[in-house]
């Protein structure tokens, strides 16, 4: 009895001696807003963009390459004889604002983008379920070489097209992200069967398989696509679809793709994809990126 009493009396001391300092730290640690990071591995999902922007002071070199169609057969070495290339640079002005320039061999196109992360997915003090990035782009076709080759009243301004896009993504789990891309492409001049303004909705996502490898897919549905039944075969337009694998190694991201699009500007892949993925016109492609940290962060 006495022993029990002694134990009981001494128990506050025992408790005190077992100070849980770590527990106290955990309790006192302020709840902070956690921004979701790495919703996607790169700034491109397949042909189009992701919500990701470059961090301040980092420069990314992107080499985008699409081969010819696999169903070209042995004569075309299953598409490997042809190449459509985009060389581009993306630079982070701030952590949320990026600028990008590029040159695409498809239609000899020069392009430029501004990309701004409007809203960031976050949890903690404040919760927000989505990351929203706005993208504005210009694309200027350098082909054909002379305006007079097109028509007598064709002007330089007619070579220009514009893209406005909202990229809306959510990282549901560390391994699963989904993105919606409402898009408008305006072309200054179009074929008679086409519309100047074309509205599209993209849907894409990624599933991480291992820490360095992810499966991706991207699909753009064009609401203003012309009716293919009324068109000749080389005028027909199909929605662009991409299946890909992201492989990440340090400063590089390799993206291996299967797609029906060969152009790497929105005008080209959303409104001028002439190949039918589900008809077998599949192109092997890849994007290779290398990031350089130009400005050191403090």
């Amino acid at each position: 009895m006495k022993k029990i009493l002694l134990l009981f009396l001494l128990s506050p001391c025992v408790v005190m001696a077992q100070n849980d300092l770590l527990g106290e730290l955990e309790k006192s640690s302020e709840k902070e807003t956690e921004y979701t990071f790495a919703t996607f591995k790169g700034t491109r999902l397949g042909n189009g963009h992701t919500v990701e922007t470059k961090n301040a002071g980092s420069l990314e070199f992107i080499f985008g390459h699409r081969f010819g169609a696999i169903n070209g057969g042995v004569y075309e070495m299953f598409g490997l004889d042809q190449a459509y290339v985009r060389l581009g640079l993306d630079y982070g002005i701030t952590d949320r604002l990026s600028v990008s320039i590029g040159r695409n061999s498809t239609d000899k196109t020069m392009d430029g983008y501004l990309k701004y992360k409007l809203l960031r997915q976050q949890s903690g003090v404040k919760n927000f379920p989505l990351t929203v990035t706005a993208l504005g782009g210009l694309a200027y076709k350098l082909s054909p070489k002379n305006n007079s080759d097109v028509s007598a009243d064709f002007e330089n301004i007619d070579r220009l097209s514009y893209t406005g896009q909202l990229l809306i993504a959510r990282k549901f789990t560390p391994n699963f992200s989904l993105q919606l891309m409402p898009t408008i492409v305006h072309k200054n001049i179009v074929e008679s069967y086409e519309e100047n303004n074309q509205v599209a909705l993209g849907l894409g996502g990624r599933i991480k398989v291992t820490r360095s490898l992810a499966l991706t897919s991207e699909y753009y549905f064009n609401f203003n696509a012309p009716d293919n039944d009324l068109l000749l075969e080389d005028q027909r337009q199909y929605d662009s679809f991409t299946l890909g694998i992201d492989i990440e190694t340090g400063g590089h991201v390799f993206q291996l793709l299967l797609t029906n699009a060969i152009g790497l500007t929105e005008r080209a892949f959303i409104t001028e994809t002439r190949d039918d993925f589900f008809g077998g016109d599949i192109h092997l492609g890849f994007n290779v990126t290398r990031t350089f940290q130009l400005k050191k962060n403090k």
Partner: protein, 180 residues
């Protein structure tokens, strides 16, 4: 019998009050780590560590968010969090233990040893960490350097970038404590 009980209570009281505490809270805590890879050195700095140290009984704890490690290369920081530390799954790193060999009243700079549980990447290991504590006026300056083997904490480095990342990391700890 009553007297005995009284003595017991009295004794207990003494034991309790005798258990005095001199608590210190880290004011400018910095944890850095460094790893020399073949291709590039990797280093990062965390200035948002919290720590409490009890100078009398030697108990110490520190806690940090893994995401608060700042790299000069931001892409490296993303990889560090996403691939290696899996910060979404294991957001915190901590240490809880006891420092031996420290005598607060003696003052001056003293060689000490901390023994306790280090938790990184969800793995807890009992470790012994050497360091020094210097008493200057009312403040304590604690410094320590130790090596962590990534393998011990189940931090896997993919083969393909293996040459870029050393298998061990040198951690430096620099805490300035003030009385709570």
């Amino acid at each position: 019998m009553k007297l005995k009980t009284f003595i017991l209570i009295f004794a207990a009281g003494i034991v309790c009050t005798g258990h005095a505490q001199q608590r210190f809270f880290a004011e400018k805590p910095v944890i850095t780590f460094f790893s020399d890879g073949v291709v590039e050195d990797i280093s990062a700095r965390n200035e948002k560590v919290t720590s409490i140290f009890d100078a009398i009984n030697g108990e110490i704890a520190y806690l940090m968010s893994v995401k608060d490690f700042q790299f000069s290369n931001k892409l490296m920081q993303v990889h560090f969090n996403e691939k290696y530390m899996e910060s979404e799954k294991f957001p915190k790193a901590s240490f809880q233990g006891k420092i031996s060999g420290f005598n607060y009243t003696a003052g001056g700079k003293q060689q000490v040893k901390a023994t306790g549980k280090l938790t990184i990447h969800g793995v807890t290991k009992t470790v012994e960490i050497p360091g020094t504590i210097e008493v200057t006026g009312s403040t304590l300056s604690m410094q320590s350097k130790f090596v962590i083997r990534l393998e011990d904490y189940n931090i896997k480095v993919p083969q393909i970038v293996w040459q870029n990342i050393a298998q061990q990391v040198e951690v430096s700890l620099n805490f300035l404590y003030r009385p709570l």
